[in-house]
Symmetry: C2
Subunit: 333 residues, 2 copies
């Protein structure tokens, strides 16, 4: 199910694609029933869906406080209520990120030993992909919170990717002077003392070179890194197209190289990586980009389905308990 | 002149290239005389160079405090002394960034009304380029410091690029919740009230889409954005090469498309953008990447030469005074 605000056609198309792909999937669509019915083909994938009507929606520029207080019958809030009561196994939204984080935190509550949820997503690499968190759920992140992000990220990558001991890096900058940031230094010490497979500081260019499986950072730097990488990829793709449209010989060669360019585009299709997970809550909440097409939205649904099937929340809860036991054991008596 | 620690062959090759390119250039090389003489062809460009011997050098992992205190005969320190005394017009270094910032600040002092120097560099875009600061000179940057960065960046882009009213954006993140950061909010207000051509908040993907001429940010986020963009560009270039080496037909087409790929590589050749400027000091200090070749190092020398010819420091000093007068005029009596 989903509360999304970026055009119901996109949501409907994404739901159709995901239902076609997964015979075990059932979608509960939360929103204006009439509008949803108007865009959704009722015969879609054997009718494995239902609509829950809501009268309100959260505006893309609405403050989290306003959404929490005044939008109790919004698609976002009702979808999260259904998740909280166990009527659905996961929730997908393309709505206002700030409102989603605040509402999810209020409705679902954070897991024991977790103070704040974090947004995590996979990013494409030359080989495989890397997971980065936090991508923008938090204003600032003290060292203890960065440590919580690392524990949750490790648990997620083990659960979803099947990597037994994923490697963890802490995002920092190269300049020695900057390395003085107390928050980063303290987080570095906490990570070194932990049972995680921690490799130390990494820099922005290490996100994509395969050095680590998980990058831990605060929400500001994480969001900047994510958006910057998207901006560079878009620019370079555009420039490649421009270069191939110059001159006749080049345009001819573009026909021959079309499969190469397509293969390149497929490998770095951001749509395949759409669907960031809000980690640290009592429930699976997936955030889709706001400005995407149906293919991208269907991948966010795939992410939610996989997380539910693998019992992501149960695994994180278990791993956090185990790490607390380890901390208690090593603590002085 | 330069104090560099990344292999004298690279420095020597860069000096040769720059001297060949500019008949008006004279280079003072600061370092171990014997080692420099061993790698530099004495006939290079009519001998428009001299060597100043120093006995020490700053280690790449040395702390700024240690460099300041114990390396008074280092190539870095002596080069900056020559700049301070007016014996050279600009200084280029490929050494330890933290030590360079601290030593330059100590030797040259900051300009009036400037509390901290910032690192600024041009980054390639599909059309032209964008300037971003700070790229890592500072640990954290309160709102008033971000405002100083904006004033210096504007003055530099006007002086060097000839853009009369370059547009300025403040790097932020999309999530409404995050937009609550007090530092960013306050800086936003200061920038709105200023005489700058301020367009408001920008996000990571706006760095490369041509939205603004100058991006203002703190040293941590700026460095993360810079390194991330380099990482993505490297990865995509590698993947393009891989795609073109698959299969016979593709390899054949690679021959035809070689000029396209080369044109692409040329447009985004990071070497052409090597040479970040330390703004806010009584002197022109250019920082070269540590791990580059002679071509890249020669571009850092080009940047220093251009900044000296255009009297960058004089213009910034003048523009800062003018903006202070403007502030004084609009201040309540």
């Amino acid at each position: 199910m989903m509360g999304g605000d970026h055009g119901l056609e996109v949501t409907a198309s994404g739901v159709s694609l995901a239902l076609d792909r997964h015979a075990d999937l059932f979608c509960t669509l939360v929103g204006d029933e009439e509008q949803i019915a108007a865009v959704l083909n009722p015969a879609v994938s054997g009718g494995r869906y239902e609509i829950v009507h809501t009268s309100e929606s959260v505006d893309m520029h609405e403050s989290p406080a306003s959404a929490l207080r005044f939008k109790k019958d919004s698609s976002m809030r009702v979808a999260l209520n259904l998740l909280s009561s166990g009527e659905v196994a996961a929730s997908v939204s393309a709505g206002n990120t700030g409102a989603l984080v605040a509402t999810a935190r209020f409705v679902l509550k954070t897991l024991p030993d977790i103070d704040r949820p974090a947004i995590i997503s996979a990013l494409p690499r030359a080989q495989g992909h890397v997971h980065m968190l936090d991508l923008g759920a938090n204003i600032d992140s003290p060292a203890a919170i960065l440590m919580q992000f690392a524990l949750m990220g490790e648990s997620m990558v083990r659960t979803i990717e099947g990597i037994e001991r994923p490697s963890v890096g802490l995002l920092n900058v190269g300049s020695e002077e900057i390395k003085g940031s107390e928050v980063i230094k303290t987080a570095n010490e906490l990570l070194k003392e932990s049972s995680l497979n921690y490799v130390g500081y990494v820099e922005g260019d290490d996100i994509f070179n395969g050095k680590v499986d998980i990058i831990v950072t605060d929400g500001f730097a994480g969001n900047v890194a994510l958006k910057t990488s998207e901006g560079v990829a878009q620019m370079l793709t555009q420039v490649i197209r421009e270069e191939f449209s110059r001159g006749l010989l080049t345009r001819l060669s573009a026909v021959i190289t079309a499969p190469v360019v397509r293969s390149f585009s497929d490998r770095f299709d951001h749509r395949a990586y759409n669907g960031a997970v809000l980690l640290g809550l009592n429930g699976i909440v997936v955030k889709s980009h706001g400005n995407v097409d149906g293919v991208a939205f269907s991948h966010a649904i795939d992410t939610a389905r996989l997380a539910a099937q693998k019992d992501l929340v149960g695994h994180i809860r278990h791993d956090l308990e185990a790490s607390q036991v380890a901390v208690a054991r090593t603590a002085p008596l």
